[in-house]
Amino acid sequence: MINKKVNNVHEALQGIEDGMTIMLGGFGLSGIPENSIAELVNKNVHDLTCISNNAGVDDFGLGLLLQKKQIKKMISSYVGENAEFERQMLSGELDVELTPQGTLAEKCRAAQAGIPAFYTPAGYGTEVAEGKESREYNGKMHILEEAFKADFSIIKAWKGDEAGNLIFKGTARNFNAPMAGAATITIAEVEELVAPGMLDPNQIHIPGIMVQRIFQGEKFEKRIEQRTVRKK
């Protein structure tokens, strides 16, 4: 067994420097690596390029990094829930590359799978296609999209073992699975870190080979963005 365990978030995020490109898992606030985001705020690294489907909300998730102006560029599909984000984007302080959600996910998966580029129909005929090669397949137009290149991928899983194997829960799997192994170094923060052999190999969603560092998060707030309920 190759042991990927590190002792804490501080150790896990060693090597992250100003100007780096970082992938962060999660959809909305669901499944975000919240301990690592807090540590990025502590580390006070700047000029980051962040690849993340969303940008958090004003006071949680990547919104915390935006408040401190640590992010130079965001690559996302939807940023609607964050007033500070919108302000920085419209004023030109923040560079934003909006990418269709399926394309964003596939650019992660391509990086994970060693595929440099792929054709997708998403965005053909729109401003997303500007400057990109296009080609017809099966009577339909597609555009060429390239795999992401990132220095670090920071993801969050429900359970993990010291070998780096990961299991996700519910819809918190989202971008965490395709970002695993999609950067030079992948850091996984988990709610529960167990000894090797404690997880059933049949149930593993991401094998440990995709993960370089794993740690158990100190605390998880797991904030809910839109609490919708019905009466009993």
Binding site: F27, G28, L29, S30, G31, N53, S76, S77, Y78, V79, G80, E81, E86, M89, L90, V96, L98, P100, Q101, G102, T103, L104, A105, E106, C108, R109, T120, P121, A122, G123, Y124, G125, T126, E127, V128, W158, F168, K169, G170, T171, A172, R173, N174, F175, N176, A177, P178, K222, R223, I224, E225, Q226, R227, T228, V229, R230, K231, K232
Partner: protein, 219 residues
């Protein structure tokens, strides 16, 4: 009488057929789930990674790890499954999802749709809409026919940045049901009590009108 949002959702629910996998967008489309006939089998897909979505959870049972694409807490029904975002859009691009229902700011008679950006004003992002409209065979748009200033959103050509080209098949508004044909919009149905003349006056695009236009049936 123009329809309200729930009535638009009720009308669209009639388009949902037995054994359909359906993706519902945010807003009026989400309401469609409330009105699908109970005697047919339908599974709702949400692009953040769930098939077999159920109603909102009971108070106290909400789970931060189980949400829909609108970030709302949800439940799952027997037979449900979870998957990652790449897999989710894989099933969308490979056309396993039978029907996509989404909102729009503008729709044009060539089937173009715009719903993600107002330059200089509002830029929230396209989310999954570009992938959905580029891949789905069957796309129904739920939208208001006119904006708050009374201007038509059913146009000859979209004026806002496009989400997709030539993809919309049908539009249901508070006034009418329109089909997108190679020759433009065909008026299929009108809201109860709304005249054809009123719909023509509220629509910038030309309408193809063949014979008597029936009223929508809203239960």
């Amino acid at each position: 009488m123009a329809l309200d949002k729930n009535q638009i959702a009720k009308r669209i629910a009639k388009e949902v057929q037995n054994n359909y996998y359906v993706n519902l967008g945010i807003g009026i489309p989400t309401l469609v789930a409330n009105y699908v006939r109970e005697d047919i089998s339908v599974e709702f897909q949400s692009e953040n990674g769930v098939l077999g979505m159920g109603p909102f959870p009971f108070e106290g049972e909400e789970d931060a790890d189980i949400i829909n694409a609108g970030k709302q807490t949800i439940t799952t029904l027997p037979g449900a499954s979870f998957f990652d975002s790449a897999f989710s859009f894989g099933m969308i691009r490979s056309q396993k999802v039978d029907l996509t229902i989404l909102g729009a700011m503008e729709v044009a008679e060539n089937g173009d749709i715009a719903n993600w950006k107002i330059p200089g004003k509002m830029v929230k992002g396209m989310g999954g809409a570009m992938d959905l409209v580029a891949s789905a065979e069957n796309i129904i748009v739920a939208m208001m026919h006119v904006n708050k200033a009374g201007e038509s959103k059913i146009l000859k050509r979209c004026t806002l940045p496009l989400t997709g080209v030539g993809c919309v098949k049908k539009v249901v508004t508070e006034l009418a049901v329109l089909e997108v044909t190679p020759k433009g919009f065909r008026l299929l149905e009108r809201a109860p009590g709304v005249s054809v003349e009123h719909i023509i006056a509220s629509t910038e695009a030309e309408l193809i009108i063949d014979g008597e236009i029936p009223e929508m049936v809203i239960d």
